[in-house]
Amino acid sequence: MGLSFLAPLFFGGLALLAAPYIIHQIRRPEREPIRFSSVMFIPNISKEVIERRRIQHILLMLLRMLLFLLLALAFARPYWKTAAAVTETGGPALHAILIDTSYSMGRGELFADAKEMASEIVAKTSDRDRVAVMTFARGQKVLAPFGSSEDTEAGGAVAAKEAIGRASLTEEGTDYLPALQEAQNLLTAQTVPPGQLEPRRILHVISDFQKSGMPASQAGWKLASSIELDLAPVTPEPGRNLSLMDIGIKESTDGALRVLGKVKNWSGDTVTDAQVALIVGGVETGVNPLSLNPGNATQTSFVLNRNGDGPLEGYLELRGDTFALDNRRYFTWNPPRRKPLLVLADERGDQPYPARTFLSRALPDSAGLPWIPQMGALPDLIAALDDPATRPGIVVVGDIDALDPGAGQRMMDYVEKGGQLLVVMSDRMNADVINAAFLERAGLRTDGPAYPDIDPSRAETLSWVDLDHPVFVPFRGANYNDFSTIRFTNHWVFKVEDPAVRVVARFDDEAPAILERTIGSGRLVVWAFALSLDWTNLPKHPRFVPLLHETLAYLGDSTKAASAWEVGRRLTVDALAVNAAGDSTVQVPGQDTPAGARLADFEHDDVSYLAHAGFFRTRAPEDETWRHVDPVNLEAIESDPISIAPEEFMLKMAAAPRIAQPEDAPSPGETVEPAAENTIGAEYGRLIIAFGFALLLLESWYMSSLRG
């Protein structure tokens, strides 16, 4: 028990205590008399007042010294050691050994050291103990389970040593939290028959304890108090350590591509002889020399001229660094894919300019636009939804007569699965049908149009638009944000029943004009007015086409598939190129031959897991060439060698104390007294900073009172 500090070096900051003393000495009034022309007008101050002020100044000085003391104390991160909760044990111990296999462990002899440490731990266990071996990086793997009491082979030292021998490095990054949770599950799943002594459960973590592996957001979770945490850090030998941290490819206006790479020197040595090479299609096309100061990063770039419009694949390679794994980053260039866009709007005999006319004119089939529009009717949509190959990325429901609840529900299913739907209300729609069809599922409800008739003299405007919404961001400029000239003689009245619905624009009477709702992985946007010249002048207004295009661009972007993948993650279905049957052929890095994949269960298939860096390729089985190629790279942050102190790791992750070494294992029934280091930490740094802040306020008030 007692007070201890995580960063005692910060007590060096106590030297700052001298600062207030020195400043007060320098600024002492009697030390710097001012020669003044005459003191005849300055009133006298009594000796008592002078003495009182002297004491007040001493108090102020002490207050400031206390502030510095608290600052140093807070930075030293004090925590209180308390006695271990577990005091009596005696049965056999359960040892779970977690070995870090992230690629950063490949530096020097780190991984060999880690395996040796694991073997030593196994060697120190008694015959009655059981041992499990796990490896972890981004994911976890149990190499040797505890087994059961009947299975004496499993959980034994021999099996553990054999598992340690089998452990191999991965190309993944580090994530401590799921590994600790998995290990905890492994340890706590071992139960003892009634009447037997509860075993000690010890978790050994062998790692380089990279700080990047444990983000602050994970700080809330702790190991169960019944588990003792034993940390075995391995530290790399200092030396040259460069890494390619990032890669990017940009298309310039002249059609050329620029490949950019970011290189960081993590070591304390200046590097002058490094090189970065660009390899495209297996051919080296350029080499850039590099010079880097310790701890600095730099960017290097190559210009790449395209031959043809096909996809490109290549990589940047950093030369001159001994740790090769993080010296390569892959890139690909795929020509932009235009999304299929289905516009549902009927021809109307009663109107010379129906919504279909405006929509078709605003959405031409142009290579400059990011979608391929197709005008259709409701049956076209239903048919398209059934066909995975032709399922549109975006659907615009303009003016359709035969919308029924069944079709509406199909549309909502489409949205829930990632579809993007823009509904433009029409004067022919029926409120009850619309509500039942899809509005209720979206948390919306309408009572119908605001006015039963059309009165041209009754014109409302968009009194408010959310200029922070991505749709309206391009309209923020002073020349574009005036929507007051768009007139509405009628509109639909919507009631928002769900807080998840976002109102993007409103009419003069506060009724929502544009609404948005995310449903599942898709999105629904509703325009609460008809694209009819009887209702609004918007179709003829200069804002119409930009507003429609920005809305569709917003919807289109939300379905954009990730174009860069990291080792240790799984591919998503968006990445697949499929045929009409939902089949695809894929080749992930590390795979020598392409494999088949099905859209329906791809995300759970082994083939979707990315274990290595390289290229992910996909095509429909009947295609001869790859339709799409994406780069798969290592997690760049894993190159960051900054590690966390074992004490801090313990403080963040352990709720249970480390109460004894394996060689000190007690005999059955023996009472174990908590040793000095058997602690549970509670950190007081923040509390002290809060107290220091209060003291700072007090100091400010006191100083102002002295002046007053």
Partner: protein, 312 residues
């Protein structure tokens, strides 16, 4: 245009070490467009000969010259301006205070040099009284060209003293100078009120036209100090501990009371009192002086006319 020419920052002027040059620079700016009086008259100061013309007073024909040249000439004399001005310079240690680049002493010296030059331009007699060490230095009023240089040299040699008796210089002045002149006192007036008023009244009683230039430092007017500090009196060396934020109001009230009383007394005795700070251009003080001089001359001529006194 005029204003921009001669409104020179005192801090810049203070860098000019030659008082004569400094004063000429300032006064030339001020006097630009003004002309020296073309009138010559008769006085004890000979000016020139002029051929006799009909109507000239035969009393001024130089008969000796007529005997030598056989031509009639009349003697012309410097016309006395009827203004004898004595400049009184307070050299006390309190004048050696500055919160910025220019001390009150330096500012007063520049002002006096300019005043002397202006007076010389106007052909007035100018004298100087200032404490010089233990004794009081007195340069009697004269209007010769060489006299200006003497005054400027004297001003240049003056230094701020320790504890001084500025009012003593006034008392001395009352004893030595002829009545009906002009007395210009340049001081910070940081002296006991009763004594100061008594001497000023005494000079005024001898029919002198008295004008007082009160020189202040901006810091004396606003007391801008913020740190708790011990103030040391420049003259007596007395120390006064003060918390500026606390005593500022009382200081300003005491100062205001002191000078209001002085101003009331001066007003009652027809003494002109004007305050200038060391960051103000000198031309404001000089304009004030010229205005006052013009007024004084007009008043004097009116009095003389009423008394039936003619010029020689």
């Amino acid at each position: 245009m005029m204003g921009t020419l001669h409104s020179i920052d005192p801090a810049e002027l203070a860098k000019v070490s030659d008082l004569h040059l400094l004063a000429r620079t300032v006064v030339d700016g001020i006097m630009g467009g003004m002309h020296r009086s073309p009138h010559s008259g008769s006085s004890i100061e000979f000016a020139q000969y002029r051929p006799y013309a009909q109507g000239d007073d035969p009393r001024y024909i130089d008969w000796v010259l007529y005997a030598r040249t056989d031509r009639l000439h009349v003697k012309q004399y410097e016309d006395e301006t009827s203004l004898r001005c004595t400049l009184v310079f307070d050299c006390s240690a309190s004048m050696d205070y500055a919160s910025s680049a220019v001390t009150k002493f330096h500012y007063a010296r520049m002002l006096l040099a300019c005043l002397a030059t202006v007076l010389h331009h106007q052909r007035d007699s100018t004298g100087l009284v200032a404490q010089r060490g233990e004794s009081i230095g007195y340069v009697p009023p004269r209007s010769r060209a060489s006299h200006l240089r003497r005054i400027l040299v004297d001003l240049d040699n003056l230094k701020p003293l320790g504890a001084s008796d500025a009012t003593g210089a006034l008392k001395y002045l009352g004893d030595v100078i002829q009545p009906r002149g002009m007395v210009v006192l340049v001081s910070d007036l940081l002296h006991p009120l009763d004594e100061m008023i008594a001497h000023l009244k005494s000079i005024r009683a001898r029919r002198h036209d008295v004008i007082v230039f009160q020189i202040s430092d901006p810091a004396e007017q606003s007391f801008p100090f913020d740190k708790t500090v011990t103030f040391v009196d420049a003259e007596s060396g007395a120390e006064q501990y003060a918390v500026p934020d606390t005593v500022r109001e009382a200081y300003l009230a005491n100062r205001r009371e002191h000078f209001d009383a002085l101003r009331r007394e001066c007003l009652a005795s027809e003494i002109d009192l004007a305050e200038f700070t060391t960051n103000e251009p000198l031309d404001r003080a000089l304009h004030h002086f010229l205005h006052h001089r013009a007024h004084a001359l007009m008043t004097a001529s009116m009095k003389n006319a009423r008394a039936g006194v003619g010029a020689r």
